[in-house]
Amino acid sequence: MTAPTTDRTAGPSAPSPTAGPTTLTLAGALNLGLRHSLEEDPAVVLMGEDIGTLGGVFRVTDGLQRDFGADRVMDTPLAEAGIVGVAVGLCYRGYRPVVEIQFDGFVYPAFDQLVTQVAKLRYRTQGRVSMPITVRIPYGGGIGAVEHHSESPEAYFTHTSGLRVVTCSHPQDAYTLLRQSIACDDPVIFLEPKRRYWTKAPVEASLDGAPPMEAAAVVVEGADVTLVAYGPLVATARDAAVAAADDGIAVEVIDLRSLSPMDLATVEASVRRTGRLVITHEAQQHGGLGAEIAASITERCFEHLEAPPVRVTGFDVPYPPAKLEEHFLPGLDRILDGVDRVLGRPHSLTGREG
């Protein structure tokens, strides 16, 4: 299946790394990041289903095969284990493969290669074999798609030692984090919030002065509650902060950016001030990344917490049909309800146990 696509990528007249900010969609910023990585390092090769002639079902690789050739932008047979396994072999020869998995729900055939090979080869070989693979995965819901096209599989990867996991929430980070991921000598699972592909913002096409890949970002400052989000929900969290401000509540929003390792120092510093933590993600709650954040922050800031951390997440059901996804996905109101909860204000569970 493909989701609705449009053609809003950077195109052939792409800004050069030194040209100053241009307004781009998130998808366009990814395209530009790929372009610059391909230009900069001949070891970079792109692989995936429909990424060449078609330019990807979301057009993230649009124009790249035309400009860099089928040798560097490779349409592959339809087999995800094959794609990732072949990428491993390319690493042995010094390449830096950037793999596109067409949708979140199609990464599982590659899971064995990712978990038993990509994540472990450096450790297995005491550092002799590097796996500088970037695995790009459009993820998350909210686009009204059919089954397997809206999942948030990050917790499978963040629990896998040896992998790095990052995600972007806006065009600038799309560009920056993608280029850093490709340049990184570790394998990186690069999660792209597909419902934000068409978000537009100015992008500085340069890595100069960019924050490190591991760093979280405080995107809204506030003294009352810390709200941790990443990927598609950062925009929702910002909206929640605006809505809360109307109620006189100052929400500090942190965009996690790197999901493994996490920059907990930034979260910790915030929680030490606010004493209250809300975490939101689309992925199912049970064993989701929110659990790790809640557990780790409780461990580190126990004395500072005024309330137990609250998680506002997808429910522990398989991703539902499109007409129900609004009930599955954390939205503004559910996040605000979580904020009320950590503040001890009336909320949906007032008077109930737990």
């Binding site: 299946m1 493909t2 989701a3 609705p4 696509t5 289903e49 429909d50 060449g52 002639t53 078609l54 330019g55 079902v57 349409d75 592959t76 047979p77 339809l78 087999a79 284990a81 094959g82 729900g105 199609f106 599982y108 055939p109 819901g141 909210g142 009204g144 798609a145 059919v146 089954e147 397997h148 096209h149 419902r195 929702t236 709650q285 049970h286 429910f315 522990d316 059901v317 398989p318 539902p320 049909p321 499109a322 007409k323 129900l324 996804e325 609004e326 009930h327 599955f328 996905l329 954390p330 939205g331 503004l332 109101d333 559910r334 309800d337 949906s348 569970l349 109930r352 737990g354």
Partner: protein, 400 residues
Amino acid sequence: MLRSHVHPTAVHERRETARTAAASGRADHDPAVRGDQLVQLLAPDGTRTPDPEYEPWVEDVDADRLVALYEDLVVVRRLDVEATALQRQGQLGLWPPLLGQEAAQVGSARVLRRDDFVFSSYRENAVAYCRGVDLTDMVKVWRGTANSGWDPFAVGMATPQIIIGAQTLHATGWAIGAVKDGTDAVAVAYFGDGATSQGDVNEAMVFSASFRAPVVFFCQNNQWAISEPVGLQAVRPLADRAPGFGIPSVRVDGNDVLAVMAVTRQALDRARRGEGPTFVEAVTYRMGPHTTSDDPTRYVDPADREVWAARDPLLRVERLLEREGLLDDQVTTAVKQAADSAARRMRAGCLGLTAPEPLSLFDHVYATPSSWLERQRSQYAAYLAMYEDGDGTAAQDGAR
């Protein structure tokens, strides 16, 4: 010696028909089918192609049956057009058209027994139609009101599989079970040319050969996996892959409903007689986009499409009927009415489908209740109850 021939072994000894090239030739100039012969019983111009091996398998197809097949083809095309329109009108989120593949689907599905079982991908809506799937049920998935539309056991067909190739293993398991149960029912796995690259499909061949499972692997080679031509998946005809696994295969003109019926029946017959799996490659063409979200102008050469348009599966049956004088006004009108009525029913059914009740989100995750999930359900119920309008709609903004 280096070999490219696969030698038949004693394990699966079979008659090797010394077949002439009678049925081939017509498609030989086409890159899609070059270098190999296709089973064909009905040429694009509506003439019958003699084939002593396969003719007997369709000798029961009399005038009535032929008209019925024609009606099927017209109806499923009409439904496909209607669903595409519904998508364009915003009533469906997505639709995967089967335009061009009607004969492959109708021909194979119409020779199945009620107790056979189909495991298909997302594109087999004509198969679903032939299995008796309710037209409203057919569009539920694409309207987004359900993750699947029908009861597999009521129609002998699993609901659409989106993970490419996964269903071939399910078919194999079902078939192994059928043997255990002592029935001669057969599982049919439908999948595409792209799917043949997936490990699952190859493992299904390994398992079915090993267990001599009564399964028909029905591959619709429609030349494309989204934008990727079949040549990227395979450097030889797909049907060549199966024999090496010990599975006989056949390459059929997938736009010839009679030939498809014949080869499928032969495969079913082998399976029922305990001779195990067969691989059918139905050579056809995806005349439309991959789905309504796709833009084939980016990768399809219009000239290719023209070549295939001339091989239209519906037109050739129409021509045959004309030739045989079976296409009078009455038939034409009846068929058109059947198609329009089906389209109307599908449309009405579609428009009547509304979003499920919010708390149904939590239904059917487990057979037996889970303490953990019951808690989530009740908490979400409390959350919804906070909102005045009671049905919780005001609370819903998850997707923004």
